[in-house]
């Protein structure tokens, strides 16, 4: 799903996976889903929250060089060096937040991560609303470890709120659930709440 609520679409393919997260490569440069976006991979679906988006050289042994010293605009750089789009790629990492089992959403890790080359899709607003009707993913995200876990969480809640009919009520419920999780860490709670405050 995207923040503007556009329909689900295929955004890439899993290139690396472990029990806690998977990495996908985008088909199109700069076409990664935004931070905090809920994506699904595999079948039955494994849901993940985008926690890192990166654009880097395809060949890690060939660093990217600056090429626009004489160019007037940024577009001009790409126009003058048409090979660039072929040398760069966008990748994103998603933290696994749950999976589908039969007709039910399971808000815990699947027994196996999605296979490599599984297609990765953004989710429809209905799917997001359904998956976030329970807020167990908050705990997974809070304890996920990446340095910007709180940023990911904030972005995820902001995005999911759009998918709910009553966004404010959802945010309040999520806020209360967060408060229960972070009962002993007020400064952290405070900073996350500021990020999601409507």
């Amino acid at each position: 799903m995207t923040l503007d609520g556009s329909p689900p679409r295929r955004v890439g393919e899993v290139v690396e996976a472990n029990s806690a997260s998977f990495t996908a490569q985008c088909y199109t440069l700069y076409d990664a889903p935004p931070l905090g976006c809920i994506v699904s991979a595999g079948s039955p679906e494994i849901y993940g929250v985008v926690c890192r988006v990166a654009t880097e050289p395809l060949d890690s042994s060939r660093p990217v060089l600056a090429r626009g010293e004489t160019a007037e605009t940024e577009e001009e750089v790409f126009r003058d060096n048409p090979q660039l789009t072929r040398l760069l790629t966008s990748r994103f990492e998603a933290l696994i937040a749950g999976h589908r089992e039969g007709d039910a959403d399971r808000h815990y890790l699947p027994s196996l991560p999605p296979p490599v080359h599984s297609f990765v899709y953004t989710c429809s607003p209905q799917e997001v609303a359904r998956f976030t009707s329970r807020l167990d993913l908050l705990r997974l995200l809070l304890n996920s470890g990446p340095p910007m876990a709180d940023e990911v969480l904030g972005a995820c809640l902001r995005g999911a709120a759009v998918a709910h009919d009553d966004s404010e009520a959802f945010l309040l419920r999520a806020g209360k659930a967060l408060a229960a999780e972070l009962a002993g860490d007020l400064p952290r709670l405070n900073s996350i709440l500021k990020k999601v405050s409507p």
């Binding site: 309040l172 806020g175 009962a183 002993g184 405050s197």
Partner: protein
């Protein structure tokens, strides 16, 4: 919560449905506690601490029992101690909303006093004292009217409506039968409504009809009535409300006449009725040494009971007193001071050389007829010596008669005397540690209802009352007290006294009282029923209408007489 599905989302059974209908607003969950300290209820985010008041009733639904308790404390809690050092951004309404009820929440302490009967309305099974507490996460609710009714009973002949629980409209009733079985204490510092509360209790006792009362009315407030300066009106006394059932006696008929009070009898007391024990009790007020006071016993031995006082006071001059001291082998100075102090009693006009009427007998006669007797002291009410002397003297003699008659009744030779409640003010003077052991009031307080006599003590310094006597006071009604020692004295020996202390110290200075003891299943703070308006008099007289004994002098038409009268009214020419 009301009427909704239960917590598990299951369909409630019909029985549970009925329960839910009668339930008050949800408050929160039990999260901690003990039987001795009470349980802690964490308030739901929807329940504001400001809406919960100390003294309010709460029901807690345990797994197998419903508990009924009272809020003893309200506090604020937080999950993170850093909250008070760095408060969150509460100017952001979203953050404030999230924080309240989660990280920052309210808690109330509830003392579960009673376990409610499993089937409400089953009169055979009343609430019983709680010997356990509800488990974790039991839900707490504001007690509903129905719960309060189940606990405190409904207004009827045996239950007297004395006020309403805080913030509730419900009539809270005391069990009068239980109340008059043991002594009653009405406490509170001056101006907190002790007199009004006592008037109400007396009306209750009068209505119930099981017991008579004898009121030693120090400030002449209970008989005819007294000004109520707070409300700029005149508060009627018992005699005005129930003229046929109350007899007023007076020591000072001038004062009674001036106040327009109609008195039935004027009390005169002969010197011969004063006993050395009376002097002993007046030791403190007369400032007598122990030796001097006990000299009265020697005098009694010398002259006999009827004469000792008049003969002793008839002595003239210091020398004759000293001579007498030698004769009865008492220290001359001690007897001298006894003589001086007892001479002061001469200024009491109600004390006479001899009287044909025995005041105590007259009082008992009225009591036997089912009358309630108020003894107005008039100007002598300002003199503690007169008050103590007369009340002690009359009470001792009345008590002696009761003892005799009770014993005769036990031996099958007569009827049991009608239960009597004796009302005394400034009780700490009669029941202080130094005199309680040998005055009649101490005896009555200790022997309970063995002889059908109990006390109602009214006092503003309960700490001055002997703790042994205090422990025998069955029902205590206390208005605001602020002295630590007084609070301690009133609550001594009461379960949960630590929690009640908070409640007692927070009472309003007017029209509020904490009641606990035998007449109630659990301690309760009440807003006292109104006394003093025209409506209130009407209500009080109306609810007394159930009393059936005819007033003195009242004639009752027989069936035949009524028939005759009706025939003659219908056919006047035939008659």
């Amino acid at each position: 919560m009301t009427g909704g599905p239960n917590q598990n989302g299951d369909t409630p059974s019909p029985a549970a449905d009925v329960d839910l209908d009668s339930q008050g607003a949800a408050l929160g969950l039990v999260v901690d506690g003990s039987l001795s300290q009470g349980v802690e209820v964490r308030l739901d985010p929807s329940a504001s601490v400001e809406d919960v008041k100390v003294g309010a009733f709460v029901t807690i639904r345990g797994d197998n029992n419903n508990f009924f308790g009272v809020v003893t404390d309200v506090s604020l809690g937080t999950t993170d101690p850093r909250l008070k050092h760095t408060p969150p951004q509460v100017d952001n309404p979203f953050i404030a909303q999230v924080m309240s009820g989660t990280v920052a929440y309210g808690t109330i302490s509830v003392l579960p006093n009673l376990i409610m009967p499993a089937v409400m309305g089953d009169s055979h099974e009343g609430p019983s004292a709680a010997k356990t507490i509800p488990p974790h996460f039991s839900r707490a609710y504001v007690a509903s009217q129905r719960d309060v009714e189940a606990v405190f009973g409904q207004e009827d002949q045996g239950h007297f409506w004395i006020g309403s629980p805080l913030d509730m409209e419900h009539k809270l009733c005391v069990d009068l039968d239980e109340m008059v079985k043991r002594s009653i204490g009405v406490f509170g510092k001056s101006g907190t409504g002790k007199t009004f509360l006592t008037r109400l209790l007396l009306v209750g006792i009068l209505q119930q009809g099981q017991a008579s009362s004898l009121i030693f009315d120090m400030h002449s407030e209970y008989g005819w009535g007294a000004a109520d300066p707070e409300n700029h009106r005149f508060a009627k006394g018992l005699k005005q409300l129930f003229p046929a059932r109350v007899s007023t006696f007076t020591l000072d008929d001038d004062s009674s006449r001036r106040r327009g009070s109609s008195t039935d009898e004027v009390v005169r007391i002969g010197y011969g009725e004063i006993e050395p024990e009376d002097v002993e009790m007046l030791r403190e007020t007369l400032n007598l040494s122990e030796v001097a006071a006990s000299a009265a016993f020697n005098l009694q031995q010398k002259f006999g009971q009827r004469e000792w006082m008049s003969k002793f006071l008839a002595l003239e001059g210091r020398d004759s007193v000293f001579e007498m001291a030698n004769e009865i082998q008492v220290q001359p100075n001690a007897l001298g001071s006894l003589y001086n102090r007892l001479s002061r009693l001469k200024r009491f006009d109600f004390l006479v050389e001899s009287t044909r009427q025995d005041a105590a007998n007259r009082v008992v006669e009225h009591l036997d007829r089912g009358q309630h007797v108020v003894l107005e002291f008039g100007k002598y009410g300002r003199d503690l010596t007169a008050y103590m002397l007369v009340s002690n003297l009359l009470t001792r003699r009345i008590h002696n008669q009761y003892v005799d008659r009770k014993e005769e009744a036990e031996g099958g030779q007569g009827r049991e005397p009608r239960p009597l409640v004796i009302v005394i003010e400034e009780a700490h003077k009669f029941l202080s540690q130094s005199v309680a052991s040998h005055t009649i009031f101490g005896t009555i307080a200790r022997e309970l209802r063995k002889y059908n006599v109990t006390l109602m003590v009214i006092d503003q310094r309960p700490s001055g009352i002997d703790s042994e006597v205090m422990s025998q006071v069955g029902t205590r009604l206390t208005c605001l007290l602020d002295n630590e020692r007084d609070i301690e004295a009133v609550l001594e020996g009461t379960p949960g006294s630590r929690q009640l202390r908070t409640v007692l110290a927070r009472l309003e200075p007017k029209q509020q009282a904490l009641i606990f003891g035998h007449a109630l299943p659990m301690p309760v703070v009440i807003h006292t029923r109104e006394y003093g308006s025209t409506d209130s008099y009407e209500q009080l007289s109306r609810s007394a209408a159930g009393w059936t004994a005819p007033a003195l002098g009242e004639t009752i038409e027989t069936h035949e007489e009524r028939l005759d009268r009706e025939i003659s009214e219908l056919f006047p020419e035939d008659g």
